[in-house]
């Protein structure tokens, strides 16, 4: 900002005012996003009784360590296996397994749809893409019966695979592959590369950012599942974090003292890993989406 000392011309004032307005809007937007988190953070530092009586306050209490301890190490179940740490593990497995499964299966299917001449391509296309929007909630009972018949209760496979039954990743990869220049595949063919070699050596490396973007979307989606994990797991060692929060928040409407401190701490713990993933990979994420949007 070298022009600070320069005499201010009317034009420049206007620009600076508008920049100021831009910042004001962005700061307001950031606060809109951030304040609820700060409120939750505050309630993890006070006792439950304080929270019930006075709600969130402007000062921090001294119960953070206590609540963290309760959330991470006090098992809320019978076997003592569903501590915060074990739930964190399961959520991680669900998030990672779901994201990887979806990416691998989606890329394969999209590759087949875009790069091959198939007689039943249109049929396959519609079969796959009608699954795009119908959520699991409305078909959960029959899905459970099928999972059970296949012996998938209380297994990671049962937790992950039925959730993969929608084609979001396939859809995004299809869009992306179609934006890849056609010359590439022609060049590859002239060089004598087969379809597998082209896929592994050229298309996959080329899709890196897209894969990263998909990974974030899918990891977050898998991590955040609630209803399906509740149905499919009966062993406490299989519980996920989002499910664990419910076990504690349910008490908020019960007859005892609601454990706000512990529930909110678990909520924070549940938010952190996916947020970390989003923040850490944000450049790839944004880039991946931009490219898919061509």
């Amino acid at each position: 900002m070298t022009d600070m000392t320069q005499p201010v011309t009317p034009r420049k004032t206007r620009i600076r005012w508008s920049a100021l307005a831009d910042h004001a809007v962005l700061i307001l937007g950031s606060l809109f996003m951030l304040i609820p988190l700060l409120v939750v953070l505050q309630t993890t530092t006070t006792t439950d009784i304080d929270t019930i009586k006075h709600g969130p306050q402007l000062v921090l209490g001294d119960q953070f360590g206590e609540n963290l301890n309760k959330a991470m190490f006090k098992a809320s179940g019978f076997s003592g296996e569903n501590t915060g740490t074990s739930m964190l593990m399961n959520s991680m497995i669900l998030g990672l397994g779901f994201a990887l499964g979806k990416i691998v299966i989606g890329m394969m299917a999209a590759y087949a749809l875009v790069y091959f001449r198939l007689r039943f391509a249109t049929l396959a296309f519609w079969l796959i893409f009608t699954t795009l929007l119908l959520p699991l909630e409305v078909r959960i009972l029959p899905s459970y019966e099928i999972a059970q018949k296949m012996g998938l209760l209380n297994t990671y496979t049962g937790l992950i695979v039925p959730l993969i039954a929608s084609a979001t990743a396939t859809f995004f990869f299809r869009q992306y592959f179609r934006s890849v220049p056609e010359e590439l595949v022609e060049a590859a063919r002239i060089d004598g590369a087969g379809p597998i070699k082209f896929f592994v050596d050229i298309l996959v490396p080329l899709s890196q950012t897209m894969i990263a973007a998909m990974f974030i979307i899918m990891f977050v989606f898998g991590w955040n599942q609630y209803l399906w994990p509740t149905m499919i797991t009966t062993e406490e060692s299989m519980y996920t974090l989002v499910r664990g929060i419910k076990q504690i928040t349910q008490d908020l409407e019960g007859t005892n003292i609601p454990e706000y401190g512990r529930a909110n701490m678990l909520a924070l713990i549940a938010i952190l890993p996916p947020v970390a993933v989003v923040i850490f990979f944000q450049s790839w994420f944004v880039k991946g989406l931009t490219e898919s949007d061509k």
Binding site: G77, F78, T255, P258, E259
Partner: protein
């Protein structure tokens, strides 16, 4: 062929081995979150420690609704738990599906456990029984709606807790208002102001013996003058500032009482434990649910709320023996007293009630006895319980219409007409599911 035989023999051998040497493992799906869940776990641990033959594992399955649905889905898949906790509104679904459960009465008798339904407190006894008075579900976490009051508020207003609604609206509420309080709030309109309105005044709630005699042609009798007069009075109280409604959330209606803004709160007898732990800025006590003298001069006992435990069918004799042993343990006076003390839910047997009395529990905490006193009042024609299918949805309809009454969107007359029509349609639909 040969290979098949060997595996079968091996499997059979493994099974006998199991019976002979290992403890029988059974499962219990429940909906008790938070601190309640911890008490459930404690009971299970104590049972496992009390003997070597059986081991029970409790599993938290979410809300009452999620637990029931998970149990149903598991049953259809042949993966049902041994014990399933089912809440009051879901009882008709489970009891209607004969073959889904083993009646606890049969289960206990078949396994050589002494069973006499008269050992159970009278208000609890038949709520999960069939029309022949056979107990189908084991009452577990049982509570009844009672009246909690702020003692300082009463003193300040110079009144005592009301016995009748007439007393409330002419004496108690005006005095409390003058003393700067909202007189009344309550936490569950269908449970407190509908189901228990019927039992307290001994009014029939549905045809076919409150629905116990079968689903065919069962009609709800909710559209009656007594209850409409009650709701009309409630809206008047609301206008006069005697009553406030804070939505369908349980806690939202309880909090203003805890904050000392509302002087009287109608809640669950099971709320007692939580209230005492909350370090309220005033002393509180409890008494029986008021009634309308204009409707009856002989008020009766109330219905229970909460949930019961069902022994799911489809398990072998060894499993059922384990379940019976667990039920025996659970209904023992010691365990019931422990549960009562920890949670505030009523003990379900007379023996446990005696034990609590002798131990001086009610001398220390007189209000803890109110729920059980109310459930031990004289029974009437219509106080056994009610059995209506799709009752979860019927409660939803009630909640919706009551909400509309209290926000001024509809009239009492229209609301009850709507509840009657929609509930009867649901009952007719339910009857068709039972063929």
């Amino acid at each position: 062929m040969n290979k098949f035989k060997i595996t079968t023999v091996a499997a059979a051998f493994a099974m006998t081995a199991n019976v002979a040497y290992a403890e029988v493992e059974i499962s219990w799906w429940h909906a008790m979150g938070g601190a309640l869940g911890e008490t459930v776990n404690q009971i299970a641990e104590d049972f496992n420690a009390s003997q070597d033959d059986y081991k029970i594992t409790p599993v938290f399955k979410g809300t009452y609704e999620e637990t029931l649905t998970a149990g149903i889905a598991a049953f259809r898949a042949g993966e049902q738990p041994n014990v399933l906790q089912v809440f009051d509104a879901g009882a008709a679904t489970v009891i209607g599906a004969k073959g889904a459960t083993v009646p606890v009465q049969d289960l206990l008798i078949d396994n050589g456990v002494n069973f006499d339904i008269n050992d159970y407190i009278s208000g609890v006894r038949y709520f999960y029984a069939d029309s022949d008075d056979k107990m189908i579900g084991m009452p577990f976490n049982s509570s009844s709606p009672i009246l909690y009051y702020n003692m300082q508020a009463m003193e300040k207003a110079g009144v005592t807790a009301p016995k009748t609604w007439e007393e409330f609206q002419t004496v108690t509420a005006p005095a409390l208002k003058a003393a700067g309080y909202t007189a009344l709030s309550q936490s569950h309109l269908p449970w407190i102001f509908t189901e228990n309105f019927m039992s307290r005044h001994d009014l029939p709630f549905a045809t076919n013996n409150n629905g116990y005699d079968g689903t065919d042609g069962t009609k709800i009798l909710v559209n009656n003058d007594a209850i409409k007069a009650h709701f009309t009075a409630v809206t008047e109280w609301q206008e006069n500032g005697y009553f406030e409604w804070f939505g369908t959330g349980w806690g939202d209606n309880q909090t203003p009482f805890e904050e000392g803004k509302v002087a009287i709160w109608l809640g669950s007898s099971g709320s007692f434990g939580g209230l005492s732990k909350k370090d309220l800025p005033f002393d509180f006590s409890a008494t029986l649910l008021p009634y309308w003298e204009a409707v009856t001069t002989e008020p009766k006992q109330t219905f229970i709320g909460g949930a019961s435990l069902f022994a799911m069918a489809g398990h072998d004799a060894a499993d059922n023996a384990a379940t019976a042993a667990f039920f025996k343990f659970l209904t023992s006076p010691e365990v019931q007293y422990f549960w009562h003390k920890e949670t505030g839910y009523v003990p379900v047997t007379e023996a446990a009630y005696d034990m609590a009395t002798k131990d001086g529990h009610y001398d220390r905490l007189p209000a803890a006895e109110v729920g059980i006193q109310q459930l031990s009042l004289p029974a009437g024609e219509n106080t056994k319980g009610y059995r209506m299918g799709f009752y979860v949805q019927i409660r939803d309809v009630m909640n919706r219409e009551y909400g509309r009454i209290l926000t001024g969107e509809t009239s009492v007359e229209d609301a009850f007409a709507a509840i009657e029509t929609e509930a009867n349609a649901l009952l007719a639909r339910f009857a068709k599911t039972q063929n």
